[in-house]
């Protein structure tokens, strides 16, 4: 029997409901593959702010670091929304744990389950065959650069007014670009061998450096992988125009935030997409969607993205590819049989095929 220690971070909103289904699936897989998963729950985000005053308590970080993998559900909600720099915000927990665990690679696969192809707002012939992997740099750029606000004084400021100003810094170092480029090329080798590197080299100095480094790594270490550059604005267009053409898309943190959400929406079923955040130590797995406070506590949230984040955990942290394939097959079967949660039901879904969070988790477990 293998033993793995999992840190659970239910977070806010629908988080506690969906993470329970992820655990259910992990337990079922563990029983089948002679692997024991032990869990320690910890606080992150809004619930951590309420309990401790900070979005990422030291204790949470200690538990995460001591674990073999972290399973996160979602953080945030209107309760904690604020623009006051002095107040804690749930996102600080997410950003803090990414930085503290050194999770510089965010992998966001974008695929369409055949049964849900019609959920897309794009025409079926356009989304047919969409299968890309967004590789987002996750611990650099605007997210972690120096930022400040200056509250101007009466009579100061360029326009003679009491002028505030603020800045954020987009900063990258060579080794940060090198290592994320390697992740993208490695991913491409296991896929269709093509990398699209996204930047804004016609404006940003960081993008010009990014482009040079990605090409050097490509030329020197991955001459077998096709590499193209695409400007971020053009990428935002091409994702809608010809999404099926993309294989691996690699980009810096902020562009990756925007483009990965755009790409996710192209599938029309955000409730089905998971992500992995990897570094050199413990990795973290989470759904691509948020904490959906509006439906929290109702038992109707879709647990499938959380369950698919467990699939990614098995693949990337525990090298359990077969078990991961089992989960994907089980989810596909449940969808093919017509089972739906409220968010992914169509106009033709019969009422008795619409199930809640727990029932959906049970359906997947039954098919494992």
């Amino acid at each position: 029997t293998k033993n793995y220690q999992i840190c659970l971070l239910p977070g806010d909103g629908i988080g506690p409901e969906i993470i329970a289904e992820g655990v259910k699936v992990l337990d079922a897989v563990g029983a089948k593959y002679d692997t024991a998963f032990a869990y320690t729950e910890a606080l992150l985000g809004g619930c951590a702010i309420d309990a401790t005053g900070t979005a990422l308590p030291d204790e949470t970080l200690r538990v995460a670091e001591a674990s073999d993998a972290v399973l996160l559900a979602a953080v945030g909600g209107p309760k904690w929304d604020t623009t006051d720099p002095a107040k804690p915000r749930p996102e600080q927990g997410l950003l803090g744990i990414r930085k503290a665990l050194g999770l510089y690679t965010n992998l966001r696969p974008v695929q369409i389950f055949a049964a849900l192809a019609d959920a897309s707002t794009l025409k079926p012939e356009i989304v047919d065959g969409v299968d890309m992997m967004i590789v987002r740099e996750l611990t650099g750029g605007l997210y972690f650069g120096r930022r400040e606000r200056f509250y101007g004084e009466e009579g100061c400021g360029t326009h003679g007014a009491a002028g505030q100003r603020a800045y954020d810094t987009l900063e990258y170092r060579e080794y940060e670009v090198e290592r994320i480029a390697r992740q993208a090329f490695e991913a491409a080798r296991k896929r269709r061998n093509k990398v699209t590197s996204v930047d804004k080299a016609n404006v940003l100095e960081t993008s010009r450096m990014w482009r040079e480094i990605v090409h050097r790594i490509g030329d020197e270490e991955y001459p077998d992988v096709e590499l193209e550059d695409l400007l971020v604005d053009n990428t935002a267009m091409q994702l809608i125009n010809r999404p099926a053409d993309f294989d691996v898309v690699v980009t810096e943190n902020m562009f990756g935030d925007i483009l990965s959400d755009e790409a996710a929406q192209i599938t029309g079923s955000l409730g089905m997409l998971a992500s992995a955040s990897l570094g050199d130590g413990t990795a973290l797995y989470e759904p691509s969607h948020g904490s959906a406070p509006d439906i929290a506590g109702k038992g109707i949230a879709n647990p499938l993205a959380q369950i698919l984040s467990v699939e990614m955990m098995l693949r990337y942290s525990f090298d359990m590819g077969e078990a991961a394939d089992d989960i994907r097959r089980a989810v596909t079967a449940v969808l093919d049989e017509g089972w739906r949660t409220g968010d992914i039901k169509g106009p033709d879904t019969p009422a008795d095929k619409v199930v809640g969070t727990v029932a959906m988790g049970d359906l997947v477990v039954e098919r494992l």
Copy 2:
């Protein structure tokens, strides 16, 4: 007779071909409305680099400043692509003239001509009724902040390697946010009275300041206009999910670059979209598309976005709303009659309805 002085900037690629059609339309409108347009041509972008070594020659700026409006076609092309900070780049001409003329407001209307509704890769019921105005801040943010690259030395750098690093600065001042917010609220009052302000306030300090200022201006000066905030990543999704819900979208420079191109692509006919860049003096009008070097010189480029940028010029610089309406009606009629350039032809377009650049310009002029 009224007299207006227009600065023409044909630029690169298809620029010279399409701007000629814009001029043709201006002349036709001028004749009808007793207005004389006089033109002075100047160099901007790649052609300016070739002729003078710089993308924005002083002479060009002088001509532009002395004119009542600037009509730009497009700049750039692979010939001038470089990541070498020491070499001039065509985009510097565009960015330079925006800054020098103080063109802080970029208006990008996104609408769908009924005859071209099927060109979208989105389902017809999703794009039906799309009619939004993207208001992009154009002279601040990452585009104009301090930027630098440091070429590391052997033995230096965090990882003991010869580490380069680079940074760009996202900076905003209070008055910059105030004035673009007012532009958005004013635009909304002439439309459906709703503003969506896009930021990344859960991460960026500039976004938190942006959000506070936009709300203050809204509360104090435009209490009649509905105001909502949307995070940039969520906006990238909602533009695909429910594009018809947006009225006015206001955002900072880089987010505006990405989102306005995404919104443009939703229509499926980028060759039909124009933009206006306004400041306190001479304004500039240009198509939303690029210089399309691959089809330059072939006489097949679509001149309609350029012609629609003339429409915007008449509306915003010369208060000639009736003449502007004429142009829009003429373009609509030409499309309704089935005339197409190569980029907007459909699978069912008969070959004899596909026309070149000059013929398309003539068709519009005939219907004026």
